[in-house]
């Protein structure tokens, strides 16, 4: 198992979390509906089934994460012990100190934050602004331009990597934040997502705002965006998680630890030929995942708030 796969295993923390949240939401509303409609006898069966489903879904998500957590606290012999132990017999928090000391963790962490924050800001601004223009402003060639943007969505990243690399190297941007950030900043996904969402908004409200004389940015910030929080939050979350987990591009561009993000730092914990001690690898992976979990918990509240704050009332 490489760090990537180890990481991929722990990464779904955010995604299944949202699925779980949604499921809880659905379950809650479903129970409410059932409670209102059905007789008391069927109520308990439904409840039991509902809880069983929830527990099952929870376990599927929680067990791998739990395993990463306990592995990060185990000593090497125990990690590979047969049968596996579910509670570490000897707690080994030194795995975390080891990661911190051997890795120059704070440097990689700061690099990751710089790259992720900048990219998220740029991508979200570009995405929202361009989507706004495509959704509400008619200008010559707007459709053609939109299809062009969509076209870029259909070119896999892997294809453009080599030409981007050549360009960035010629500009002298290797081993710089600029070199890592600029080529990653142009993503059509946000434009596409936000435009489609904007188009689903009731035109009456936009027209009413226009009649009231709100300008370009005022309409965007006071009318359109407040109705788009859930989509926007999802967009921010997806962008942040994607950029946080970037590996191939930063790997190609960074030469030393100076600008390399955490995901690259983690590979230093693995041995090329010989023994890898998985305790520190798991500890590092876990530390690298925490910021994204925090971000998710933070944004999740806004997402749900947005869902319930409807602009048009029945």
């Amino acid at each position: 198992m490489t760090v990537d796969t180890a990481h991929a295993r722990s990464l779904p923390a955010a995604k299944p979390g949202s699925a779980l949240a949604q499921q809880q939401l659905q379950d809650a509303s479903a129970t409410r509906a059932r409670r209102a409609a059905s007789a008391p006898g069927t109520k308990t069966t439904g409840k039991i089934l509902g809880y069983a489903g929830m527990i099952l879904a929870g376990l599927v998500i929680a067990v791998p994460i739990y395993f990463v957590v306990i592995t990060s606290l185990k000593l090497r012999p125990e990690i590979y012990s047969d049968p596996i132990t579910w509670i570490p017999q000897i707690l080994a928090p030194e795995n975390y100190t080891y990661v911190w000391q051997t890795l120059d963790f704070s440097q990689y962490f700061v690099n990751s934050v710089i790259i992720t924050v900048t990219l998220t800001l740029v991508e979200v601004s570009l995405g929202v602004l361009s989507a706004y223009a495509f959704a509400f402003y008619r200008f010559p060639g707007s459709n053609l331009l939109f299809y062009l943007v969509l076209g870029t969505l259909m070119v896999p990243n892997e294809i453009t990597i080599i030409s981007n690399y050549a360009l960035v190297a010629q500009l002298g941007w290797r081993d710089t934040f600029t070199g890592i950030i600029v080529p990653l900043a142009g993503v059509a996904f946000g434009t596409f997502l936000m435009r489609n969402h904007f188009l689903s908004l009731p035109t009456e409200i936009i027209e009413a705002a226009r009649l009231d004389g709100t300008g370009f940015f005022r309409t965007l910030f006071k009318v359109v965006l407040p109705m788009s929080w859930p989509t926007l939050m999802a967009f921010i979350l997806i962008t942040a998680v994607t950029e946080w987990n970037q590996y191939l591009w930063p790997f190609l561009i960074s030469d030393t630890g100076r600008v390399a993000p955490l995901q690259i730092g983690l590979t230093m914990l693995q041995d090329n030929e010989g023994l890898t001690n998985w305790g520190p690898v798991m500890a590092g992976t876990l530390l690298a995942t925490i910021p994204m979990i925090v971000l998710f918990l933070f944004l999740q509240r806004s997402m749900i708030k947005g869902l319930t704050a409807g602009a048009v009332k029945g």
């Binding site: 198992m1 490489t2 760090v3 090497r76 012999p77 990690i79 590979y80 012990s81 047969d82 459709n143 053609l144 299809y147 062009l148 969509l150 076209g151 870029t152 259909m154 070119v155 294809i159 453009t160 990597i161 080599i162 030409s163 690399y165 050549a166 360009l167 960035v168 190297a169 010629q170 290797r174 790997f251 190609l252 960074s254 030469d255 030393t256 630890g257 390399a260 690259i264 590979t267 230093m268 693995q270 041995d271 090329n272 030929e273 010989g274 023994l275 890898t276 001690n277 998985w278």
Partner: protein, 433 residues
């Protein structure tokens, strides 16, 4: 279906846009001139084999102190040889080229073959570099068309590791003799160990973790091979016999094939381990008891060598090449190869390393490391072309061995493998030889 003219036109536009964008990508702007000047600092791209980052930095600091005019810098080239190859390939497409790269046993030939790395013989001559003290077989591994394309750096060989306590329990010799042949292993060693301890006698890594490399020598001892030069030998009856041997051993529970064999052995789940010398350092700390190392079973040569060497890109200026070749000579000189190999468990690449008192003392104190170094002279030969020279050969063989371990018919698997690699050879290599 209701296709309006408008939507048809849009679709056409979309397709054209995609095509145009895809076409842009991949061409690059290709200004990689034949004579790239550097920025004055020698760039050494390494994946730090054997967790050697600190040692490499230490060697580079020593170089910088001795050569303040031509300083060197250590660049992270990736987490393994394959990633370093990727990064180098990206640089070849038009980026700034490094001065020195780590090239593994499976990547160096491809670079040499496509002209990405430069032959070193003329540079050695013009810079007056003495290559006579390199271990001959290790240096010869990097020869193509009569020229040398690399210098040995982090070189390893498979070893057998055995827990002393388990050997004693089974009544087997602990003086480092090991099984003389694989037949002896199958008839005496393995059953005794299994009976005495209840554990598999030997564990080895699976096909995605270089089983094809560890087990290569075993094929030779059966009289088979992956190939003889460019002549593929997978369907040779002797090769199939060796494959069947591996399958039977696994089926009988005498050999276990796992993903991370060094850890499997380290925690005591097997009596023996077939692994690279690169694991020596790590196992010394993590093994659950005392262990000895032995040669791989014969008849000799019973195994091969592996690991990586250093190479110089062809696209840099002559001035840079001259410094690079001196840098390579420095980092692999007798004193530095001793420092590097004692820290990692790799093998010294200079013959006169053994004459240095410090190294002689080290070998006395570390009989396990000494086994590896002695085996190098007695029990190894260069790898088969099919594994190291055919693009993707090692991975393909590893995949086939995995299928055999899983119980598929050996002859069928090897026939398919032979066809696959033959096709790659006919397409990529034969026309360019």
């Amino acid at each position: 279906m209701n296709i309006t003219r408008r939507s048809a036109l849009s679709l056409a536009g979309l397709a054209a846009a995609t095509a145009a964008l895809s076409a842009c990508a991949g061409t690059g702007s290709g200004t990689a001139s034949a004579q790239q000047e550097g920025n004055g600092t020698l760039q050494f791209w390494s994946n730090h084999p054997g967790s050697s980052r600190d040692i490499e930095q230490q060697l580079i600091d020593a170089w910088n102190a001795a050569n303040p005019d031509t300083p060197a810098e250590l660049i992270d080239g990736g987490k393994n040889y394959e990633e370093l190859g990727q990064k180098f390939n990206a640089a070849l497409s038009g980026g700034e080229l490094p001065d020195v790269i780590v090239a593994s046993d499976v990547t160096w030939f491809n670079f040499a073959f496509t002209g990405a790395t430069t032959p070193l013989n003329d540079l050695w001559e013009s810079e007056g570099i003495d290559t006579s003290t390199y271990v001959e077989t290790l240096l010869a591994d990097y020869t193509y068309d009569g020229k040398n394309y690399g210098v040995p750096y982090s070189r390893s060989t498979p070893l057998m590791y055995w827990y002393t306590a388990d050997l004693e329990k089974a009544g087997l010799p602990t003086d480092g003799t090991g099984p003389a042949t694989w037949q002896e292993f199958a008839e005496t060693w393995a059953p005794k160990l299994k009976e005495a301890t209840g554990k598999p006698a030997l564990t080895v890594a699976d096909g995605s973790n270089y089983l094809d490399w560890y087990f290569q020598g075993a094929f030779w001892t059966f009289g088979g091979a992956y190939s003889t030069e460019w002549d593929l030998k997978f369907t040779d009856p002797k090769t199939i016999e060796a494959g069947t041997f591996l399958q039977t051993m696994v089926k009988d529970g005498l050999i276990s094939v796992v993903k991370d064999s060094a850890n499997e052995f380290g925690i005591g789940n097997a009596c023996g381990l077939l692994e690279s010398t690169g694991s020596l350092g790590g196992l010394k700390e993590s093994a659950t008891g005392d262990f000895i190392t032995t040669y791989l079973p014969g008849p000799k040569p019973g195994t091969t060598t592996g690991g990586a060497g250093l190479a110089i890109p062809a696209g840099i200026s002559d001035e840079r090449k001259k410094i690079a070749v001196k840098f390579i000579d420095f980092i692999t000189n007798t004193e530095n190869t001793i420092t590097f190999t004692q820290a990692t468990g790799y093998m010294p690449v200079r013959t006169d390393a053994a004459d240095v008192p410090e190294q002689a003392a080290y070998m006395d104190e570390n009989p396990n490391a000494a086994t590896a170094i002695r085996q190098l002279n007695e029990n190894t030969k260069s790898q088969d072309y099919a594994r190291v020279f055919i693009n993707g050969g090692g991975q393909a063989i590893g995949g086939a061995l995995d299928k055999i371990v899983a119980g598929q018919d050996v002859e069928t698997v090897f026939t398919a493998l032979q066809e696959e690699l033959q096709a790659t050879y006919d397409r990529d290599i034969k026309p360019n030889l």
